[in-house]
Amino acid sequence: MIALIGKRTAAMVVILIALAAVIFYLQKISPLDPVHAQLGGQASAGAVADRRHQLGLDKPVTAQFWQYLTNLVHGDLGTSFRTRRPVMTDLRAFLPATLELALSGLVMALVLALILAFGTTLKWRGSGIFRGVLLVGASTPTFLLGIAGILIFYQKLGWLPANGRSGISDAPAGPTGLLTVDGLFQGRLDVTVDAIKHLILPSLAIALGPAVSIGRVLRSSLVADRHSDYARTARSKGLGEFRLLRQHVLRNAVGAALSMTGLQVGLMFAGVLVVEQVFGWPGIGQYVAQSIPVADFPAIAGVTLMLGVAYIVINTAVDVLQAAADPRIKT
């Protein structure tokens, strides 16, 4: 197990460096010159040369890359052209909102996937309709899901809010930045409940696509394992189908679904960026959307790096988790 963790971590570091190299290369080929972006087009040649030296842009490319890596490790993602603040500072301000949305979307996707897989395997009443709805949902662009949610649950029914994270003006700030958790910490149940209400529609919009992908994989493993010898033994001992699936088959079947979940996280990030636009969610998606039109490459590179690192770390963790769930996995 420890050897496995070591191996996976080493592979992860290599991929992280590769990610940094890709971003570094993109920065190099980008027609935007960071010096001119910082100083403006009117800067004198001397000032430009000075700044180039200051930024280390007159060094060889390998030295620049090493510098870039060192900066990254120290949490320095460069300076945004637009806000003129360090990208890291900007991201820190936007991160909690996005994190809360992404986590709740992930939980929702897993719950829907479980219902889908169990329902269609055990042929629950209504599971066919549920499956149909999810399938259509998975072919729907994330932004349309969000829009439909707003039209139905906000405008028509008035059940759920459609804008932002919270309707409470004096919501507590800290300690985590996640409103649902902070509300509990500060003993403000109203804040938590309100935050959950705000989370439902955007999370659902993100969750549908991944839920179908994960649910499909889980279902096919469940169906396959249901016919195995140990399942037959358990059944002949009088175990009900649901308990059999939940207690015996699920653990064996969960591996493939776990790795699918890891892969789907990448798609979910893109979904989060889009959905934040639809719901005016004050997160990283807003930051990206404001950075794209003005070609603020350091900002976008920072977001890409952060999401990329999250994706790589999550997938490494999934690999290790898989091995923990199934000790037969050795490599």
């Binding site: 932004f143 829009i147 990448g266 070609a295």
Partner: protein, 291 residues
């Protein structure tokens, strides 16, 4: 599992058995034909569109169905239907282009990798794995940001992150085929490497690649629409489904059809892509099973 199972046989008869093999086959052909139909619609968008998509034709915010405006008119009185048709054209061809580029580039890499084996295979597959372990849509955003926004740049960006899937699949198929008797026989007959790869390995790997590609069209349409929604597509007046929806989001609660119609078009395209992809898979898999 040939053993008798103790499963309660609440048997569900397969669609194929229920409909008869011939009916299922015709349905699959119909599904696959949808690709041709949508391509025709996309090609004929300029003929089918009732109005100029770029020019205001009348009063803004006309309801859908009101005289001459099947899907209504937008903020400055342009015909939504015309814009949607042109948007469909852009989306569809973009998705096809990315699939073709991915198939071509990934196919070549996969073929070389699988046919050569050894260190070439190792090197190429490590690079492929590297790409696969990065989050594709997010990486695409960075590529577009570096190149500058624009339709072609978005296509390039998505193609760059999309080919590795195909490389993996083609390589896997080729490796499997390489162990088959007909390949051994060809080798023994003295067939050169190049010919072996093109004549004896590639044809066998194609069906799997085509199946993956056709199942991918729906995904690509959704991904591209998402990127366009974020502002990574053509610039302002050009009709594009994702961007048209994003730009008109502010009018959602008063004039819902302006942002909704382009989104619905994406959904229809993606559904058609998925149905057609499934049909193509059934057709190809069916034929392979019969062989």
């Amino acid at each position: 599992m040939a053993e008798p199972s103790l499963l309660p046989s609440r048997g569900r008869v397969g669609r194929r058995a229920l409909l008869g093999a011939n009916t299922a086959r015709s349905l699959n052909w119909a599904g696959a034909l949808l690709i041709v139909v949508v391509t025709l619609v996309a090609l004929l968008a300029p003929v089918l569109a009732p109005h100029n998509p770029l020019q205001p034709m009348g009063i803004p915010f006309r309801q859908p169905g009101s005289n001459g405006y099947l899907l209504g008119s937008d903020t400055i009185g342009r015909d939504v239907l015309s814009r949607v048709l042109y948007g469909v054209r852009a989306s569809w061809f973009a998705a096809l282009a990315v699939v073709l580029i991915g198939l071509l580039f990934g196919g070549v890499i996969g073929l070389i990798s699988g046919a050569a084996g050894g260190w070439v295979d190792n090197l190429l597959m490590r690079i492929t794995d590297g790409f696969l372990s990065l989050p594709a849509p997010v990486l695409a955003i960075a590529v577009v940001a570096a190149l500058g926004p624009g339709f072609v740049h978005t296509l390039i960006a998505v193609s760059i992150v999309w080919w590795p899937f195909y490389a993996r699949i083609v390589r896997g198929e080729v490796r499997m085929l390489a162990a088959r008797p007909h390949v051994e026989a060809a080798k023994l007959a003295g067939v050169g490497r190049f010919r072996l790869a093109l004549r004896h390995l590639l044809p066998g790997a194609l069906p799997a690649a085509v199946v993956t590609a056709s199942l991918d069209i729906g995904n690509l349409i959704l991904t591209l629409a998402g990127l366009s929604f974020l502002g990574l597509g053509q610039s302002a007046p050009a009709p594009e489904l994702g961007a048209d929806s994003a730009r008109n989001l502010t009018y959602l609660l008063q004039y819902w059809w302006v942002p909704v119609m382009p989104g619905l078009a994406v959904m229809v395209l993606a559904l058609i892509g998925n149905v057609a992809g499934d049909s193509v898979r059934n057709l190809i898999d069916g034929r392979q099973g019969a062989r």
